[in-house]
């Protein structure tokens, strides 16, 4: 079978163009996504309205009142030609404190029984791995993370919850993620972080960024509650 040549520039609509580097979750494709995103975001003035990075693609939307498709295609091609020379910022390692189980992680027991593990084993496995933020999408600051142990993979809920509390740490299939704002959601909630992951008044407004390495650290309910009484609760827990 003929394998299409990547990257592909696909017309997604009369106001958006999709750059596809591939169709799988893969570290080298992620690097290309991150480079193109970084390169496009450094453009000033901006000739696009939004950049939507994902696992292996970047959607570029534009205002057709200002620029039209052929011009956008030319500009993106120029970025693609110089992709190898894009210098990315050093990846950050971000620690996320989590209280597991109980009222904060109502699905922890179900995840454990699905995976035929004890609750303690699930927590130990979840905190011992490093996770990569492939991209932020879906809702403000929602990080799509890879690196979950296959032993913890658990299918999504049959019926999504209508209201998932902000900070909920969850497992959905082979992925793990954190709900930054209250939203509906179908992933299994195993814990909650006291960190504010999205604040439009902060710069940058999201706690996690594309390309970050994330580690979870187990905390107690007392630590969770005291987090909110500390003077600077938006304090970042960066390790590097």
């Amino acid at each position: 079978m003929h394998r299409p040549d990547y990257p592909q520039l696909l017309i997604a609509s009369d106001h958006s163009l999709l750059v596809r580097f591939g169709t799988e979750i893969d570290l080298s494709l992620h690097q290309s996504v991150r480079r193109l995103t970084h390169s496009l975001l450094s453009e000033k003035p901006r000739w696009f309205t939004n950049i939507h990075p994902a696992y292996a693609s970047v959607l570029v939307t534009f205002d057709p009142r200002i620029t039209e498709l052929p011009e956008i295609r030319r500009r993106i091609s120029r970025h693609l030609e110089q992709l190898h020379s894009v210098e990315l910022p050093q990846p950050r390692c971000v620690e996320v404190p989590v209280v597991y189980g109980g009222e904060f992680g109502p699905d922890l027991r179900d995840v454990a029984s699905h995976c035929r593990l004890s609750v303690e084993e699930v927590i130990q496995m979840h905190v011992s791995d490093h996770y990569l933020v492939y991209f932020l999408g879906f809702s403000p600051g929602f990080a799509y993370m890879g690196g979950l142990s296959p032993l913890l993979a658990t299918p999504r809920l049959a019926a999504p919850r209508t209201r998932v509390p902000a900070g909920s740490v969850a497992i959905g299939g082979k992925q793990t993620g954190i709900y930054p704002v209250v939203s509906p959601g179908g992933w299994r909630i195993i814990g909650r972080t006291p960190l504010g992951l999205f604040d439009p008044k902060r710069d940058p407004p999201t706690h996690l960024q594309i390309g970050d390495e994330v580690m979870f650290r187990q905390i107690s309910e007392e630590e969770f509650r005291s987090f909110f009484s500390s003077p600077d609760r938006s304090d970042r827990s960066e390790l590097t």
Partner: protein, 315 residues
């Protein structure tokens, strides 16, 4: 102080400008007015910059009391607005006097009306926009819909002399009016649908379901099948993207859509028809018409030519 008091908020009234751009890579959706043509025309009538925030009402309007004289313009769907028992015309400059209340009823057709005021509402800009995104609690008044008793202060501009009051010409309004025949171009997974599904897609009518809002419109109609049932890797989506989840019933994404999605995309609504999405209500019947990119571009240019001072006539 110049203020608008919310005597009754209506079903869902939010502050919206033309949207929040440049933050999709952080997962932030554009939000903004669902019918941008109505908002732009309202601001044009008042001599405001076109991105000036206004109140967007949904299905059932509210009642708003002004503390001082202020030129206003009401655009979008007709919610039968009244001031002191007199009905207020739409798509024109009107003066509301200090102490008067403009009260809206329910929309007979369409979904959204805009109450635009001359001047600027004093609301903070979050990530460059005053638009309310209710789900994430950003923008507008504390990131939420308006409630009874809310006070919105505003910075007035000079009053408009009466001889500069304008109305949008009736012929322009007819041309700019919402469409139920949405023009589309093929999207990424178009070719993965069966020939039968593609035929059904642009020959059948679809009904807007009750589970429709600013995030998206869920449709009811012929089931659209794909030749393969492979999962799609999550990718970026934009306003007007038509996704088809496994149940085969299409969803049109509206301005508060998630920034990425994992359902196959069959087609995309063209830019010129995006405002129409904001006026479609449950049980409306719509059809899709496949056009090419040149036609999409021509439609947008023709529409843009109508959104300007030339379309306004003196009262």
């Amino acid at each position: 102080m110049n203020a608008i008091t919310v005597s009754s908020p209506g079903f869902l009234t939010t502050i919206q400008d033309l949207g929040r751009f440049g933050h999709a890579h952080l997962g932030v959706s554009q939000a903004g007015a669902a019918d941008t043509i109505a908002l732009r025309m309202g601001n044009l009538l008042l001599g405001n910059p076109e991105n000036t925030p206004a109140l967007e009402m949904t299905l059932v309007g509210g009642a708003f009391t002004f503390s001082s004289d202020c030129p206003i313009a009401i655009t979008g769907a007709n919610f039968s607005p009244i001031i002191d028992g007199h009905s207020v015309p739409l798509w024109t400059t009107v003066e509301i006097k200090a102490g008067q209340t403009v009260a809206f009823g329910a929309a007979k057709a369409g979904v959204r009306a805009y109450l635009c005021i001359r001047g600027e509402l004093n609301v903070p800009r979050h990530l460059g926009s005053a638009s309310t995104h209710v789900l994430s609690g950003i923008g507008g008044l504390s990131g939420r819909a308006l409630q009874k008793g809310d006070e919105l202060s505003y910075a007035p501009l000079d009053p408009i002399p009466y001889h500069l009051y304008r109305v949008v010409s009736a012929s322009v309004l007819r041309e700019l009016g919402p469409r139920t025949n949405l023009r589309v171009t093929p999207a990424s997974e178009w070719e993965s649908f069966t020939d039968e599904a593609l035929g059904l897609f642009y020959s059948s009518s679809y009904e807007i379901s009750e589970e429709s809002n600013r995030v998206g419109l869920r449709l009811r109609g012929p089931t659209l099948k794909r030749t393969v049932q492979t999962d799609i890797l999550t990718e970026g989506v934009s306003t007007g993207t038509i996704q088809v989840p496994p149940n085969g019933q299409p969803i049109i994404l509206s301005i508060e859509h998630p920034t990425t999605g994992g359902y196959p995309r069959i087609a995309s609504v063209i830019s010129a028809d995006l405002s129409s999405i904001g006026q479609l209500r449950p049980r409306d019947e719509i059809t899709f018409e496949l056009v090419d990119l040149t036609a999409a571009q021509d439609a947008r240019r023709a529409q843009e030519a109508l959104i300007g001072h030339r379309s306004l006539i003196a009262l």
